[in-house]
């Protein structure tokens, strides 16, 4: 009987000051299954996993692994017991090489010490299998989030584990990588390894998972085989009400006036990735940027936002040529940029939600450098409500919020600026389905108010659903542009594939 479950967590309870994060939750996983853990932002998924891996101490409850009661005091102990983890926030060492990050803690040794040759070769092999092309001897921090995420995955699945915890591994991956990941996951399942999979992308869950456990507000809602659940039902259980309205899909056609484009970028070339990419956004238009991993989308966003002054090509705002020296110049012209790397480039982790949300708007709510705290609080209040950010209050430290809620605070930081153009780099990364719908609605809404949006997303579906026009880039060059009827996931994929084919042909 007992042996049926590889892992059983019974009556797990966890309190944080002001938050009852887990309320006597039962959670169990069979060997050789892929088990989805679902729930809204702040439902307690990550907390449950952190308790499992010994990062947090539980208040009450017991954990039974392989028929034995266990209680881990550190991730090391959990690792030794065969639990391997990918945490929600990428937790790797920025200055160490990719290869080292994959092997840290279990480096192959030879007589004279660490066998670097083997470290690098193995890392290269693992990553190649996963379709990632990167120089494994380079420091991790010289790569973007997607590569980092793949490295974290590579690290987790290259150990001998019984159970692998994956807390939102796909949030910064695009379709191709997700497919690779799933292939790996299936292989692992065949070997009898259990996987706990957390994701906010429903399609993924239905594609890969066997069982689904749903949490809401720290309480267990249900556990059932994936096959017995419909999408609608799953979402309804997660949000605790009928979800028909959440699953709406719509794609508007650009209604705005033509006129001078709000932003026109021409022939942008930088020192690393960009090779003459061009782009035009009109007022109130939502333009999507699609491309494979490392296509240069983030780099382009940074040039547009003035974070990389080292480029050639021209930028024009409302027809006037500009040259930014720093992001604040772009901000002054009404630009906003919500970064894809929320930990490294977004949050001020020891500061409160209030301080985090208003960091960019301060000059506007201050007179002669004096912050008008009343107005500040009003704004924060308004956005906590309108984005339904789950926090005990404005003064909560942002690091104590769940990942998705942190993302919402960052979004609010820019939305409250009422920008002319907002660049959203993976804005729904780690955001639950309900909130995602809200954010998508919000994007439509702000576009309706005449704000232009540049949307970068790895979820093609999201682009198709929201954008008026999608620009496809590859290797820092435009390879296509899709609009209205032509705009579909299939067409985007086809554009990319064609380009790869052409190039491949040319090469041979």
């Amino acid at each position: 009987m007992e042996a049926m479950y590889l892992l059983e967590m019974r009556q797990i309870d966890k309190q944080f000051p002001g938050v009852h994060a887990l309320d006597h939750v039962n959670f169990r996983v069979r060997a050789g299954e892929i088990h989805a853990l679902m729930g809204e932002n702040g439902a307690g998924k990550s907390t449950l996993m952190k308790i499992l891996t010994g990062l947090y101490r539980k208040d009450t409850g017991e954990i039974i692994l392989d028929g034995q009661q266990v209680s881990f005091n550190s991730p090391l102990e959990a690792q030794r017991a065969g639990i391997s983890t990918i945490y929600q926030e990428i937790n790797l060492i920025p200055y160490l090489s990719i290869a080292e990050n994959i092997h840290l803690g279990r480096e192959p040794m030879n007589r004279t010490g660490i066998d670097w040759k083997q470290v690098n070769q193995r890392a290269e092999r693992i990553l190649r299998e996963m379709g990632v092309e990167a120089d494994v001897t380079q420091p991790l921090c010289s790569y973007g989030t997607a590569v980092q995420q793949m490295v974290a995955i590579a690290r987790a699945i290259s150990v001998q584990a019984k159970l692998i915890v994956m807390d939102e591994p796909t949030s910064s991956l695009d379709e191709k990588e997700v497919e690779i990941l799933f292939r790996q996951m299936r292989k692992l399942r065949e070997k009898g390894i259990a996987i706990i999979f957390i994701s906010h992308r429903l399609d993924e869950v239905f594609e890969i998972c066997d069982t689904v456990t749903i949490l809401k507000d720290g309480k267990l809602v249900s556990e059932s085989p994936a096959a017995e659940l419909s999408k609608l039902e799953l979402v309804s259980r997660m949000i605790g009400r009928d979800a028909t309205d959440v699953l709406r899909r719509k794609n508007g056609v650009y209604q705005g006036t033509g006129g001078v484009p709000v932003l026109e970028a021409h022939g942008i070339t930088d020192k690393e990735k960009l090779r003459g990419v061009s782009l035009r956004i009109r007022q109130g238009e939502i333009v999507g940027l699609a491309g494979l991993l490392g296509a240069g989308r983030t780099e382009l966003a940074k040039v547009i936002f003035g974070d990389n002054p080292d480029y050639t090509g021209t930028l024009a705002v409302n027809g006037q040529e500009v040259r930014w020296k720093a992001p604040r110049d772009a901000i002054a012209k009404g630009f906003a940029y919500c970064s894809e790397d929320r930990k490294a480039e977004g949050i001020f982790s020891h500061m409160s939600v209030r301080e985090n949300m208003t960091m960019a708007i301060l000059p506007r709510i201050a007179r002669r450098g004096l912050v008008n705290v009343g107005r500040q609080k009003d704004i924060v209040d308004r956005y906590i409500k309108s984005l339904s950010i789950k926090t005990p209050g404005q003064e909560q430290l942002i690091r104590n919020l769940s990942g998705g809620n942190q993302q919402k605070v960052l979004l609010a930081r820019w939305l409250c600026m009422e920008p002319r153009l907002i660049i959203l780099d993976e804005p729904t990364r780690g955001i639950d389905i309900g909130a995602k719908a809200e954010i998508e609605a919000l994007i439509q809404d702000i576009a309706g108010q005449g704000i232009s949006v540049l949307l970068i997303s790895s979820e093609l579906e999201e682009l198709v659903r929201n954008c008026h026009r999608v620009i496809v880039i590859r290797d820092g060059k435009n390879i296509g542009e899709l609009e209205s009827d032509m705009l579909s996931e299939g067409n985007i994929m086809r554009t990319i594939a064609q380009d790869i084919l052409q190039e491949g042909g040319a090469c041979i």
């Binding site: 990062l55 060492i93 200055y95 670097w116 001897t137 974070d307 990389n308």
Partner: protein
């Protein structure tokens, strides 16, 4: 490691290497005595103590910490050696100070890792405490000479030569090579980098940052004790009030050598160069010989400024990173 990586590492260190070469060139042109055997041996010999301390300091700083207690520990070690010398046993004179300094390093490490007190404060405390103990042992700061019974043999510790190179220099080179090996080829060495790079991540990856930090401060205590022994042997006496400010010199050497004070990046090679940059500057000032004390400080400051500017320039060109200082 791949060739490319080594080259990359070399490029990043370029600035310091060039700065040292520039200083040496300038010194050799300005002062004919500079390149003499005697002077070169002096520089190597004099800086081997700071060098040894800086090696430990580099590991400490790589974990994102700092250790202010090294100067006091070295002084304490020299005092212990001298105070114990009447017992007539070289083994006691060497082992006890090393053991005491190691223990005090361990204590710093425990305070930092277990009580989670900022390294700056924990080691500031240790710095004051060690100095206090040295003063208490010597009746308020009276220096103690090494007992004549063992003085001659103990003197050899710092004053014997191998291939015309003094023993402390060999010791420094040996420790440097060992350190480089540990840093590059052993797990513990890599974990030091990992903890400094991102302690939280290191913990999540199953490392034990506490253990690594404790180890690093313990080793640093040991090395400070060793430097103190060399000093005692060179001076033939234990000195409770000496080595003031050595911690700053060691930190400066480490930072000049390109190790980030926030941890995670840098290495011993750069530190060794940093030590000799400071050493050559001090030697140049002595060879110049007519600068007043105040001009000595000012010129030292200006030369350091020159070195870091050169280095920061090289770094900016090397990686083009937009990271913010601090």
């Amino acid at each position: 490691m791949k060739k490319k990586n080594l080259f990359y590492a070399f490029c990043k260190k370029h600035g310091v290497v060039f700065a040292l070469l520039a200083l040496i060139l300038a010194a050799a042109l300005l002062f004919p005595e500079f390149a003499s055997y005697g002077n070169v041996t002096n520089i190597l010999n004099q800086n081997s103590m700071i060098g040894i301390i800086s090696l430990g300091m580099t590991f400490v700083i790589l974990t994102g910490g700092i250790d202010l207690s090294v100067g006091s520990l070295a002084a304490l070690s020299s005092v212990l050696a001298a105070v114990l010398s009447p017992k007539g046993s070289l083994a006691i004179m060497i082992l006890v100070p090393l053991a005491v300094c190691t223990a005090m390093g361990l204590l710093s490490g425990l305070i930092i890792a277990k009580l989670q007190i900022a390294p700056f404060i924990a080691t500031l405390g240790m710095m004051m405490a060690a100095r206090g103990i040295a003063l208490v042992m010597t009746d308020g700061g009276v220096s103690v000479s090494v007992d004549t019974g063992v003085a001659e043999t103990f003197r050899l510790f710092a004053r014997s030569y191998l291939l015309r190179v003094p023993a402390p220099v060999w010791l420094f080179v040996l420790l440097l090579v060992t350190g480089l090996y540990i840093a590059r080829r052993t797990r513990s060495g890599r974990y030091v980098y990992a903890v400094g790079g991102n302690e939280e991540a290191a913990r999540m990856m199953g490392l034990q940052p506490e253990k690594i930090k404790i180890a690093v401060y313990t080793v640093n205590g040991l090395l400070a004790g060793l430097a103190g022994l060399i000093l005692a042997s060179r001076l033939g006496a234990g000195q409770p009030v000496t080595c003031d400010g050595w911690e700053m010199t060691a930190i400066a050497a480490t930072a000049i050598g390109g190790t980030l004070l926030s941890g995670g990046r840098g290495g011993l090679g750069g530190t060794a160069i940093g030590v000799f940059i400071i050493g050559v500057i001090s030697n140049m000032i002595n060879l110049q010989g007519s600068l007043s004390s105040w001009w000595q400080s000012i010129i030292t400051g200006l030369l350091l400024l020159f070195v870091v500017m050169l280095q920061s320039h090289a770094r900016a060109n090397g990686t083009g990173s937009t990271e913010i200082a601090g």
